[in-house]
Each structure stands twice: as structure tokens, then as C-alpha cells.
Symmetry: C2
Subunit: 339 residues, 2 copies
């Protein structure tokens, strides 16, 4: 089949016929080449040991498709493997559902699926099954990606929001808000001397190192949409505790702080894609932080908060002058289509 492909995506590429076959065989499948995809089956058949499995999904609609430090392809890999890692699972397999808009340049698609594959290799996962749909111009926005992921849980810990206890502390692996501000500054046309780069990165290695070292991890959460504040409000409500954040401990890059001020955004509500909180018993904070700091993705790990009992679940921020204010979930209007 040597017929040439047009320079842009057409509706026919989603119709299940010749043109879709060509797109898959010539463009998409060669990038991800592996035995599961080569079977040309309706599903991938995986051999797995008995035990616990983590299963998750996210759709990605970030605008623009490419931004400093990443693109929708790498984001669709890291976002989903990180959700698996937050259960303490080792990510293994991904699915990939593409919704292409008619008119998408083929060159853009090629670049983005290659970025997915590079990210998958970095994260140690195989993309084993997929699907491609096409919608008319004006019914999509270039490309939306869904990935679902499967990972193996090889330890006995029960890592979940409900496991958080008074006496736990909140550790974070690095500075906040870089992904969201990388996207927003591009979208808003803001120029900084050094552009803000997304922090998007695969977190499983770092998380699994904590677990392997015997740290009694109670809860993990990556700080995506809604940022640190929304993640911790959710955890406080599920565990029915009071979480206190220490404002002066929160790591923020000066450019991110400046960009947030310019756009009127609270950096605690801005998404990261390579940052997580670990809630661990206070007496394990030191070994946990020491270990995290040996990993490139945890070099700036710090303790940012503490958990105490509460009659009403809440999250508060203690300012440098010692006053305290309540933090709420983000307002959803401020940062649309950030991931």
C-alpha cells in the first residue's frame, strides 16, 4: 500500500476504511511498534501476575498543543502514568484514543505521536492499544488525546486519601505552578526573559523509591488541575482533617510568581504535571525528604504542611507574619484547558 497521504487530516481518516488503514499503518503504528499493536487485534492481551492493579484515565485538551517544556503528547503520557504512581503502582501499559479535527496538519500529528512515544519510553510504559476518530472542522481543536493506564502494585501499603491522619506532614517534590503558567504565558502572549517551562515529568520512579525505602506513605496526589490547594482540600475532606500549609515553605520560582501576579492567579491553584504531595507520618519526614532529594525530580523537596484533627475538614495557609487564612478549591473559570 504505497498510496500517499494528504498533508492534512480528512474525515475519511476516521471512517474505518482505506484511508484510516493507511494513516494507522504508515504514520501511527510504526511510531509505537510493539508486539501488542502488531497483533492488529481489538484489544491487547497482557500477561500479569496476581495482585493489585491500578487503572486510570484522563483526556487531554490542552491549548495550545505545544508549549515550553512539553506538548499534548508528552502530557497525555505523564499525566496518566502519574495517576497510577499516586496509587503506588508501577505504570506498565497505556491505551491511546485520538480525536483528530479535520484539517490538522499531518506533520503536527507525526510530531505529537513521536512525543508520546518518547515520553512513554522515559516513563517505562508501552502503548499497547488505541483508537483514532476524526471530527469535522469546528467540532474539535486540532487534537484531543485520551490515555488510560494500567500499573502493578507490588507492595502492601494502602495509599489513599482516607488514610491521612493527624500527625502526618505534607511533603512536595518541587516548585509549584510551572506547568499551568507555561501554558498560560504562551496563550496570553506574555514574554519573560527566561520562558517558564512545564514541569511535566513521570513521577513513578521517585514514588516507588520512597515505598521501597520503607516510608509509610499514607497518601499521594499529583498537583494537576486546581493545583496544590484543590488537591489538599479534597484530601482534607476525605480524611476529615485540618491541613495547615506554611506559606514561607512553599517553593515558587520567581518567574512563576511574577506571571501569577500579572494574570491575577493564585499559584496554589495553578496546575503542575510533575509535582506531587506525599502525606507521611511526621517522624518519617526526614528520611523521606533526604531520599527525595537524591532524585532529579525531588531535588527541591520540602515539608510544606501538617495535618491536625478537625471538627470541620479544612485547609489553611499560615502566612509569614503568623496569621492564617482558609484556602478553598480553585474557581474553575480561571485556567481552562490547562491539561
Amino acid at each position: 500500500m504505497s498510496a500517499s497521504l494528504p498533508a492534512t487530516i480528512t474525515l475519511a481518516h476516521g471512517g474505518g476504511g482505506r484511508q484510516m488503514h493507511q494513516l494507522l499503518e504508515q504514520i501511527i503504528l510504526p511510531v509505537f511498534s510493539n508486539p501488542w499493536l502488531e497483533a492488529r487485534h481489538d484489544a491487547a492481551v497482557l500477561e500479569l501476575p496476581a495482585g493489585r492493579l491500578a487503572f486510570t484515565t484522563d483526556s487531554y485538551v490542552v491549548r495550545p498543543l505545544e508549549f515550553p517544556g512539553g506538548d499534548i503528547g508528552s502530557l497525555a503520557v505523564y499525566g496518566t502514568v502519574n495517576d497510577l504512581a499516586m496509587c503506588g503502582a508501577r505504570p506498565q501499559y497505556l491505551s491511546c484514543g485520538l480525536i483528530l479535527e479535520e484539517g490538522l496538519p499531518l506533520a503536527t500529528l507525526v510530531r505529537l505521536v513521536q512525543s508520546m512515544q518518547t515520553a512513554a519510553q522515559r516513563a517505562g510504559v508501552q502503548l499497547v492499544t488505541g483508537d483514532t476518530k476524526v471530527v469535522e472542522q469546528g467540532q474539535g481543536d486540532g487534537l484531543y488525546i485520551n490515555t488510560a493506564g494500567v500499573g502493578l502494585i507490588n507492595h502492601a501499603l494502602d495509599i489513599a486519601p482516607a488514610r491521612v491522619r493527624p500527625g502526618d506532614v505534607v511533603l512536595v517534590n518541587g516548585d509549584l505552578g510551572r506547568h499551568g503558567m507555561a501554558v498560560m504565558t504562551v496563550r496570553e502572549g506574555l514574554n519573560f526573559e527566561t520562558p517558564i517551562e512545564s514541569d511535566a515529568a513521570p513521577l513513578a520512579d521517585l514514588v516507588l523509591a520512597l515505598i521501597a525505602a520503607g516510608i509509610e506513605v499514607h497518601c499521594l496526589r499529583d498537583l494537576t488541575r486546581g493545583g496544590l490547594a484543590s488537591a489538599l482540600v479534597e484530601i482534607a475532606e476525605t480524611a476529615q482533617v485540618h491541613i495547615r500549609l506554611d506559606e514561607k515553605a512553599l517553593p515558587l520560582h520567581p518567574t512563576v510568581r511574577a506571571a501569577c501576579e500579572l494574570l491575577g492567579l493564585d499559584p496554589l491553584h495553578v496546575a503542575c504535571e510533575g509535582r506531587f504531595v506525599a502525606l507521611v507520618p511526621a517522624d518519617q519526614a526526614r528520611p523521606a525528604l533526604e531520599l527525595m532529594r537524591t532524585h532529579p525530580l525531588g531535588a527541591q523537596a520540602v515539608l510544606v504542611g501538617q495535618v491536625s484533627p478537625a471538627e470541620t475538614a479544612l485547609l489553611t495557609l499560615t502566612t509569614p507574619i503568623g496569621t492564617s487564612r482558609r484556602l478553598e478549591r480553585a474557581s474553575g473559570e480561571q485556567l481552562p484547558r490547562i491539561c
Copy 2:
């Protein structure tokens, strides 16, 4: 949290903050209520026995969202569980990624997620993890759904296109093309005395009954986008065989035939969502068909073709007068957004 929801979806419902939390807690999660979703975790933790697992995904962009015999919600369940069934797996768990368009009436969303849950119950699967995104008006089309699925393979058969052999026969479980024509007749405003209803249905029970009865199933494929012809061309190419279809054996509802003629479509290229082919050794055709006919979804099961050796892989149709013509994959332009 008793704040009321607006009547339509807004961008804020995808922002990861308060409004998204309300949408999930008040509208979506109560419909699918189960322990995995109640954990409010980043991923679902599943307990599975050792062995083979099937994993698959599909995105659904069907237009219109509702059509005779189904809607995008039930389709997103049946389509994915059927892909698992085509590996001989028992579907167990689904993920659900929603991409909502700003302005979607909340009432429509409620109806469609309830339809998903009804379909999931019928198919015997739990929807255990999900994600919701919102895109601006004019960047979507109401609602796109991605589902990924996980199923267990509890038998030793290797069911795959490459296993098809000369001497196999092709069985189909019912009449062809009803799903595609149900969608197309609504979209084109065609009126028939009896409207064509989609055949969308979950196929795992029927497939697993064949396997449990000891039928040596070589390959299974559901007849979605591209229809019977595209599915069999793909199988013929993978197995390097000649598949001959017998035109007079092909089951077609008269209204589907009439609608196809009106719209200039070949029914062999029209999608089904509750039909599959089973390729089995010829000597097992009779017990397989007898068994299929005892099941409501196989009542009209018939033998429609035979597999013979080939120098060049191909699919041909033998007409009632004994002539033969080659069948190709569908042209993708004809039936856009059918699933």
C-alpha cells in the same frame, strides 16, 4: 455543598475547582456509585487473579448523540466491552473520559451518563475511574466519550486474526448494518414506516458461551466502522488467506437494504455494534451455530463464508448467479462519525 448547578455546562466545570467538584459530586458520581469511585483516588485499585488480561480503548464521537436503539452513552459501553469480548475476555472494568462542550444542556449529560450506567449493568461491568474535561463552544460537539476496558481471559485459546486457517468458516450472529443505518437515516432525515434501530448490544455472554462449549474459536471480530467487508479484509491480510463470502447467505433487514440503496451505501461497509464474526474450523460450524441460536443475540446466526489458501490475501463475494467480485475496505468518507 448545596450550591445549585447551572442548566448548561460551562468551562468552569472542567477547571479542577469548585464547579467541577459540584458536577462530579452531584451529577456524575452518584450515577455510577461504587467503592472504587467512592475512594476519590487518582486511579482505581483492582484485585485480579494471575493470568491474561485484555485491555482496549475507543473514543466515541457519534452524531447525533441519540439515535433509535441507543445513544453515545450506551455505545461507549458496548463498543468497548465488545472489543474485550473479541479477545475471548470477560469484561470487568471500564474507565470513562468525558469531553464536554460548553453549552451542553445538563439534562442531556444526565440522560447520557444514566444510559452508560444502564448499559454497564447489562454488560456486567463496573465503571471505576474517570475524567471530565470541558472545551469551548465550537471546539467540540456536545459530548465525546472515551472508554477503556479491562477484561479477564479465563481459557487457554489464542484468539487472533493470525490464527485463521484455510478450512475455517465465517459465522455471523445476526443481520448486518443496522447500527450505521440507524444513525445515518436520522442524520439524513429519512423516514421509514418502522425506524431502523441500532443493533448495539454487549456480546461477551454469547462469545464466552461458545468458548465454554469447547468450540475452537480461531478469530473473533466485531463489525464496527468499515463493516463486515473491512473486518474480513483485515483478517485476510493478517492471516494471508482468501475469504469467500456467499452473498445470498448474508443476513440483511429489508429496511436496511432499502436505506443503503437510497444513500448509495454498500451494506457490507456499514457499521454494526452488536454483530461479530467468529472464524472456526468447518467441522465446528454446526455446533457453534446451534449454540449461538439459543442466545437472543445470536438467534439469526448463519454461516456466511469460507477460508481457503491464497497467494495474495483477499476477500471476495460470490453472487447468487455464481460470479465473484473482490471486496475492498470501505472508503472512509461515506460514513463519518458513526460511532
